[in-house]
Amino acid sequence: MHKTRSLNRTSPVDIMARTGKWIYLIFFLILTILPLIWLIISSFKTNYEFETQPFALPVVWQIQNYIKAFQMANLGRLFLNSVIVAICTTAFNTLVASMAAFAISRENFRFKNGLLTIILSGVLIPIIALMVPYFKIVSGLGLYDTLPGLIITYSAINIPISVFLIHGFMSTIPKELEEAAIIDGCSFTQRYTRIVLPLSIPGLVTSGTFVFIYCWNEFTYAMLLTSSEASRTLQLGIRFFRSQFVTDYTSMLAAIVITMVPTIFVYIFMHNRIISGMTSGAVKG
């Protein structure tokens, strides 16, 4: 065994494999990460530096680009809107999805599997095809151009994925724990609040992370369902305030970096959960 390995290591095929491997790894690293690093460095430059020396480091790191970004685009208000929408949607969606997932995973009733299949097949529907009905529904509820309109819409869009993730997690919790609790006189609701929910926290956190990132980054429906600054989110802000930044490009880059910070932050702390959530079969089917 040891011998074959050392033999293989020096064969031309192996040298080719190793060289190719590193070229491939570094090629993709350059494409995915280098533009982001360039963006962040450029956001600290003066406009003159940005246009004349695109690859150099800034002589003085222009922190005021970030201050200007906040002042010019009323970014504070948009940032607050995004935070409200993302947090409320995550909480509401997690509550609704976990209740449904609890009933489906812990109880037996007719149509239970059919119901689960129908809900999960929601992930296959192209949401952009539903622009007209969503616009009509949200307007009809009197929620056009309001934050609750976005919160309800995002909560609903994410029901299939969060029911899938939470149901998958709850199914792994042994039933014996609940049986003991039933003997002790636990009601249906108490089994949910006192036993299954606390044990499902890792699953809830995974699902919540997905929903939070979705809400923070969502653009199409934020554009369709809002029109005033009072209810617009950050993503729309950086898209539509481009004209205000026409003479100050690097401040716009600073605004873009500001919108990326929260999800990158979440990703740094939660990447194991995000990756395990995806591999638990976010696409199994």
């Binding site: 993709f28 995915t32 246009e51 999805a97 449904a100 192209p126 095809a129 622009m131 969502e218």
Partner: protein
């Protein structure tokens, strides 16, 4: 089956999710399909006129071009992005130095919004100060510099390239499947003298077939409904060369042509469903025969 004694609570617990799902998935699906057969401005009542919207759409050159572009998107994502992601998964599964760092880095763009990525690439492709042109000049290829997104010949490939190398999402899914293949298979092959390429071709590929079909199906479906990054970077221009069906749907909505909008929506839904069904059907026999790692 006996009626569950907790049936009242079960219904109560299911109700909020069912209401949201019904209002946002089931009702809109029926709504889109029914009103796609009507002329409707969203204010007065819809007037039904059969297949007129569909006939007009398929006669419209811009729509046909947009549909063709969506098909190109589907093929590029399914048959270029998935193979790229699969090769990366094969490399990372052998745990080269720093593989966890690479995995984290390649997935990073997936947590950043399409708006931020599109704005970043607008700056990269920019004709005057974009780094792509700067880079080409530095390397002595002044002749190649151009207005990448403003040029009929380069705009569509430029928008495709922006997305196709973000392989993180599919790579992570395929990698998880690849990690499920026992090491002993590869050790046995190595003793028999198989080199790494042969091992990947004769062990990994057949074992990964189910997940490759699943991810490919998803990638094709995503391509058929592609909208956001194109809308953000070119809005379909120049001269409709990058247009996709979603952009026409959104424009018709803005022009209060709700009937046409919903006809495009119905086409998106049917095409998406047909893509998924076709792939399933094509591979269903093979899937049953193989015991792949799912």
């Amino acid at each position: 089956m006996r009626v569950n004694k907790n049936w009242k609570q079960i219904i109560l617990f299911l109700l909020p999710a069912l209401i949201l799902f019904g209002v946002y998935f089931i009702y809109p699906l029926g709504f889109v399909i029914v009103t796609s057969f009507s002329k409707w401005n969203g204010i007065s009542a819809p007037v039904f006129h059969g297949f007129k919207n569909y006939i007009e759409l398929f006669q419209d050159e811009t729509f046909r071009l947009s549909m063709r572009n969506n098909i190109v998107w589907a093929l590029v994502l399914g048959f270029v992005q998935i193979p790229l992601a699969a090769v990366m998964a094969m490399i990372l599964a052998r745990k080269p130095k720093g593989w966890k760092f690479f995995r984290t880095a390649y997935f990073l763009p997936n947590v950043i919004s399409q708006v931020a990525l599109a704005m970043m690439w607008l700056a990269i492709y920019n004709a005057e100060f974009g780094i792509l042109n700067n880079l080409l000049e530095m390397m002595g290829f002044e002749g190649l510099t151009r207005n990448w997104l403003g040029n009929m010949d380069t705009a569509f490939p430029a928008v495709l390239v922006q997305q196709v190398f973000y392989i993180g999402y599919f790579m992570v899914v395929i990698l998880a499947s690849r990690m499920g293949i026992p090491d002993s298979y590869y050790e046995a092959a190595e003793i028999d003298g198989a080199n790494v390429f042969q091992q990947e071709f004769y062990i990994t590929l057949p074992m990964l077939k189910p997940i490759l079909i699943t991810t490919m199906t998803l990638a094709l479906a995503y391509g058929m409904r592609h909208f956001e990054s194109t809308y953000l970077m070119t809005n379909g221009g120049p001269a409709h060369s990058t247009s996709v069906m979603g952009i026409l749907l959104y424009r018709n909505l803005g022009a209060l042509n709700y009937g046409e909008s919903n006809a495009i929506g119905a086409i998106l839904i049917v095409f998406g469903g047909a893509t998924i069904a076709l792939i399933r059907w094509l591979f269903s026999r093979n899937l049953d025969a193989d015991d792949g790692i799912q």
